[in-house]
């Protein structure tokens, strides 16, 4: 039997067009031996949940720089759950104000990363979350 590969969906929900951060993270996870499904810009929560289902991923990484995270993230979590994918771990990167962090964690977000977060930390957190 082949080893179990960690599969990660990296998506950019919402309307801002800056995907450099998402690409940097996708590349870092690839270099850590994971299989990263990259979906590109301007994804709706519905598109993200559908892709997560079809690809049977372990982890969804969302990059939000538009400020709409408090609307988009709960919707993605809700849809994942509705699809029977409540075990999928969700990570967020981008511009997330500190005061929103506790609320997002309470919703079930596994990790939140701002600009300058070391990719090693993201990799380690993803590995730990999948193992748990």
């Amino acid at each position: 039997m082949a080893e179990r590969k960690i599969r990660v969906l990296v998506a950019k929900p919402g309307l801002d067009g800056h995907d450099r951060g998402a690409k940097v993270v996708a590349r870092a996870l690839r270099d850590a031996g994971m299989e990263v499904i990259y979906t590109g810009l301007r994804q709706t929560p519905e598109m993200i949940a559908e892709a997560a289902l079809q690809e049977d991923v372990d982890v969804v990484g969302l990059s939000v720089l538009s400020g709409a995270h408090m609307a988009l993230v709960p919707r993605v979590l809700e849809l994942l759950k509705a699809n029977g994918q409540e075990k999928v771990r969700v990570f967020i990167g981008g511009i997330i104000p500190d005061e929103d962090v506790p609320e997002l964690k309470k919703m079930g977000v596994s990790g939140i990363y701002g600009p300058g977060a070391p990719t090693e930390q993201i990799i380690n957190d993803v590995r730990a979350a999948v193992k748990a």
């Binding site: 039997m1 590969k5 031996g33 299989e35 499904i37 598109m47 892709a51 029977g84």
Partner: protein
Amino acid sequence: MTHAPAILSGDRLALARLLTLVENDTPEGRETLDELFPHAGRAHLVGVTGSPGSGKSSLVNQIALHYRRAEEPKRVAIVAVDPSSPFTGGAVLGDRVRMRDLAGDPGVFIRSMATRGSLGGLAQATAGVVQVFDAAGFDMVLIETVGAGQAEVDIARLAHTTLVVEAPGMGDEIQAIKAGILEIADILVINKADHPGADNAERALKSMLDLAHPVARVFQHHGQVMSVSAPAAAPDPRLWIPPILRTIATEGVGIAGLVESIDMHAEHLRRSGDWSRRERARLESELDLMLTETLAAQFRAGLPDSRYDEVVDQLTKRTLSPWEAVRSLLNGRKP
């Protein structure tokens, strides 16, 4: 109990999870494949291959859209293969980026796969994944290979119909007569046909086809009009001559004609008996491969690691050649 009943009843989450089990070659996955096998063999398997950046994903997106918007929409599964890193085993699978038009359609299922060390343009488990989609009742399975150069021709064994996609600027006529990828085409597609060089690309591909299937034609040579008559023997009507089609996938241009050709090829295969011949050849080559792997794995399992390392050490010192090493291991004798 396996996942087979859930798959056959159309459970998408069960389908996605089974694909993972098949991709990871687990015992559970194998068992479900066994159960699904009698239900497969109905779908039209269409391979899409060609060099990186020729527009394969955009074309697959358009072909799927076309089948979904037909009067009798077909259920379409897409298997998109991208390469794994040879160093870390990781991969970025980016084909979905070009397929966003298909989001939200329950008649479409897209699955990305990494090659995981396979070299022929597909992953080891691609055939298994395709079989699952087939058994799950998808009418069409579109299989997009990794960006292929010249020798990644595994797709021709798996698919009923193989599209080879070229973009203008692919090289001259010498490239077109080399063995390999162009030989496996059932349909040749010149995508990005609005880019300069499309005429040259078409001419090069046509000249390659003319060498294989001579036809009567008139041409000018040093200003003189010359004519070549067709060979005396009429071409076999059962023969399929690959059409050369132009498309602009990003704008949906030429897609209707391409889909028509895909359907005509399926029709041709069924009428000529090639459908069952290809099916037989494919199942035979899959069996061959599985037999080889199983025997190798069994043999290796019965061999102590220490003995194996010993032989590798001798290879490194060059006191034993690779063939001598194989003979020695198979005979179980001290080298």
